[in-house]
């Protein structure tokens, strides 16, 4: 495809949309589909009279964010929630009459107005299965700009200027990673998109891929150009069938329009993308394990260095970034690195997508500028804690993260602050807990997760997590002693300091952070044989003098 053709495509699609006075958009991302939004869409399509079909389009679109109220449907600019197939006739009638009051969803509410969307700018607006929709929304403009107007070095420069940091969790400066791969040994290089999102309660990457897959492909292609790679892989977990299906479709569409493949935009740059489907191992989100898995080996991590940037897939320099990181690339190139750097805080630029889950009124997907406070996220955007309960803690970063208590609610969200509070930014899972949660039980849940997901290669993680889980079980069933508590602390330190990869090194975090802020709950279980939240069933305490 030539740039002119791209332009033409975009104009044509925009004109088409303009010519249709009415747009009905139905969310067809996994959350709303699980509440039968596909049936809603079908009912709406069937319900349109031949007359209306000329003036109204029904489109499946990506995630609109407020998953809790799904299925979400927007009729022109009016947003409706909890729509069922039976509501279709009423919604169609509203095109000519007044809005359907009982289904209205306030799109001016803080949940929508307080967000800032870069990664999710197209989510809920475009049809993820129609490449022309993405093109009409300035899609592939950034790729063209990079190929036509910039050298790979200049692309790296813009990414560096943007200050973007890895959205997979650790927050490594993206520009630095790209430059390292670009400078790596000449010859074959690879770009990998890590879509093995596996934290309990996290669904950011899934949603991005289901709502706007081309954005990720474009980001990867730009990365390929910048680092000198002509082959990309998306490593995606098999548990995301819809995302896989839409990615496959998107790759086919992009190849058909020659936006991926050989000689993109008539340049010498070629870039192919293939999917690799994970078999369900959480550890394959760790980059070296992921690479081993793509190579067809057992998905276990290996010691770093060498880092994948120097020696990755099949021993070649490999750039590996998370879905959300790639999703930020096109806007950065379109608007310039300094535009992006103007958003967020000094050290954490841009926005971050979070998945709100747990005891929070507005469960769903949000994107906020870095630097706003947890309180704004949970109470303004998230609508606070339901059922009049009291906020207790918010868990960020999944099994590698920690629980942040109330006293840190006014802390700005950035990589450093979260680390200082004993958690991590992580990939963006945010699980809110109220006073009905037992923090020891929460720590036990995450430890069980790490224990089952450990690959078993290194001793501290393989056995240490089992022993940590055993200690936590003894605390929650009321048979633990103070010796057990000190052993728990000692073992947390050991597993964290000696494990081979990030999984083991961070597995103790939920325990350490809950010990830091909620030690009284541990002590109540051990000394008073009591669970303060009333979650743990404490059986008859064992006779005194037991050392274990």
């Amino acid at each position: 495809m030539t740039p002119e053709e791209l332009q033409e495509q975009a104009e044509k699609r925009r004109a088409e949309q303009k010519d249709t006075p009415h747009q009905i958009r139905v969310c067809v991302a996994a959350g709303c589909i699980s509440t039968q939004s596909d049936q809603v869409k079908e009912a709406l399509v069937k319900g349109l009279s031949p007359e209306l079909q000329k003036t109204c389009q029904v489109n499946g679109v990506g995630c609109m964010g407020l998953c809790k109220e799904g299925p979400l449907v927007s009729v022109d600019d009016t947003l409706y929630k909890a729509v069922s197939a039976a509501d279709a006739p009423e919604l169609i009638n509203s095109l000519s009459q007044t809005p359907v009051q009982r289904l209205l969803c306030d799109s001016k509410a803080p949940f929508f107005s307080r967000q800032k969307k870069i990664v999710l700018e197209n989510s809920g607006k475009i049809n993820p299965e129609v490449i022309e929709d993405y093109i009409a929304a300035d899609g592939y403009v950034a790729l063209h700009k990079a190929l036509a107007e910039m050298t790979p070095l200049q692309v790296n420069e813009q990414v560096t200027i943007s200050g973007l940091r890895g959205r997979g969790g650790a927050g490594f400066p993206t520009g630095l990673k790209w430059s390292t791969v670009a400078k790596g040994a000449a010859g074959q290089k690879y770009v990998i998109c890590n879509a093995d999102e596996g934290d309990p309660g996290a669904f950011m990457d899934r949603s991005v891929l289901e709502s706007d897959p081309h954005r990720v492909l474009e980001g990867m292609a730009i990365a390929g150009y910048a680092v000198g790679a002509n082959q990309g892989y998306i490593y995606i977990r098999a548990e995301y069938p819809l995302a896989i299906q839409r990615l496959k479709l998107a790759i086919r569409q992009a190849e058909r329009l020659e936006l991926l493949g050989k000689n993109i935009f008539g340049t010498t740059f070629s870039f192919h993308v293939e999917l690799r489907i994970g078999a369900g191992a959480f550890v394959c989100g760790e980059e070296t394990a992921l690479i081993a898995s793509i190579e067809g080996k057992r998905g276990t991590p290996r010691p770093r260095p060498p880092f994948p940037a120097e020696s990755g897939l099949w021993g070649r320099p490999t750039l590996i970034n998370n879905v959300e990181t790639f999703a930020n690339i096109a806007p950065i190139l379109r608007n310039g690195g300094s535009w992006f750097a103007g958003i967020g805080t000094e050290k954490s630029k841009g926005t971050k997508v979070f998945a709100l889950a747990g005891k929070i009124t507005n469960t769903g997907l949000i994107e906020i500028p870095m630097g706003i406070t947890l309180r704004e996220i949970i109470f303004d955007i998230g609508g606070g804690i339901p059922d009049g309960r009291k906020f207790k803690a918010v868990q960020t970063g999944g099994p590698s993260g920690g629980c942040i208590p109330e006293q840190y609610l006014d802390m700005p969200i950035d990589y450093e602050s979260l680390a200082k509070a004993g958690s991590i930014m992580g990939s963006g899972g945010m699980i809110v807990m109220d006073d009905t949660s037992c923090m020891v039980d929460v720590a036990k849940f995450f430890m069980e997760f790490c224990m089952t997901e450990s690959c078993g290669k290194c001793v501290p993680c393989r056995v240490g997590t089992v022993q940590l889980h055993g200690l936590l079980c003894r605390i929650t069933d009321g048979t633990a002693t103070m010796d057990d508590l000190s052993q728990l602390e000692e073992l947390c330190d050991m597993v964290r300091s000696t494990s081979l990869c990030g999984l083991g090194q961070t597995a103790p975090n939920p325990v350490v952070s809950t010990l830091r802020y909620f030690k009284e709950e541990y002590l109540a279980h051990i000394q008073e044989k009591r669970c303060l939240a009333g979650v743990c069933k404490i059986t008859v305490p064992h006779a005194a003098g037991v050392s274990r």
């Binding site: 260095p305 290194c458 501290p460 056995v463 022993q467 000696t498």
Partner: protein
């Protein structure tokens, strides 16, 4: 790189436990330490096989690096200051050994490797008098289907030496690991009985490299079942020279 520079690798100078030592570029801390009479404990590492950094016993402190580094896979660097033993390292190593003993059913008194077992010896060397973690007592099998050898999973520490020697030296890749975390265990072929393996050449290399009594020869007494491992670096060296 010019041919000359491949013949004379760059020499690095560094300190290990305060001792000034020199090493060739690319050498690992573990090897350099051993050349200089400094012992660093290892279980999964074996000369002649690739190192995987799995047992974590060889972790050392390197000045200026917050993380502990596995000596078996970490290359020397100019000016590096390495500490191979400290209160912290000793404590962690003891805990690693205790975790290993707690994990499966290591009953030294009735083991064919009693007295010449790397795990048992390592525990003694690290002053272990008891295991502070509760024993897990998992149900583990014994595969005695092979004509000459036995695999006792109760005694396996998952160091994967058998997997590596079979793959890298014998070239058969009969052994591998199945399962995750605590459920991981070594298998022959696709977890078929060893005696029915189509790929096993019965060379016995796996038995010789096994650090514990997990792999042993049938009909050998405790006194006889000593393991010979010198062949591994020898074979590696010979093949490199070809």
């Amino acid at each position: 790189m010019s041919p000359l520079s491949t013949l004379t690798p760059r020499v690095k100078t560094l300190k290990i436990n305060g001792l000034d030592v020199s090493a060739s570029e690319g050498e690992k801390i573990l090897d350099v330490a051993r050349q200089n009479g400094i012992q660093i404990p290892t279980l999964c590492q074996l000369d002649g096989l690739t190192s995987v950094g799995a047992c974590r016993l060889c972790l050392v402190e390197v000045k200026g690096t917050p993380k502990l580094l596995p000596a078996c896979v970490t290359s020397v660097e100019e000016g590096m200051e390495v500490t191979t033993t400290s209160e912290r390292l000793v404590k962690y190593r003891q805990m690693i050994l205790e975790l290993l003993f707690s994990e499966r059913n290591h009953i030294c008194s009735v083991c064919v490797s009693n007295g010449h077992c790397d795990l048992q010896g390592m525990a003694q060397a690290h002053g272990m008098t008891h295991v502070r973690f509760p024993y897990l007592y998992p149900q583990q099998g014994v595969d005695a289907s092979h004509r000459r050898y036995v695999m006792d999973h109760n005694r396996c520490i998952l160091c994967a030496r058998c997997v590596r020697v079979c793959d890298e030296i014998e070239g058969a890749h009969t052994w591998d690991i199945q399962g995750r975390g605590g459920d991981a265990f070594v298998i022959t072929d696709f977890n078929q009985p060893w005696g029915e393996s189509q790929t096993c050449t019965s060379c016995g290399k796996c038995v010789q490299v096994c650090p514990t009594g997990a792999l042993s020869e049938k009909g050998k007494s405790v006194a006889e079942m000593t393991k010979k491992r010198e062949f591994v670096p020898y074979l590696t060296l010979m093949r490199e020279e070809l």
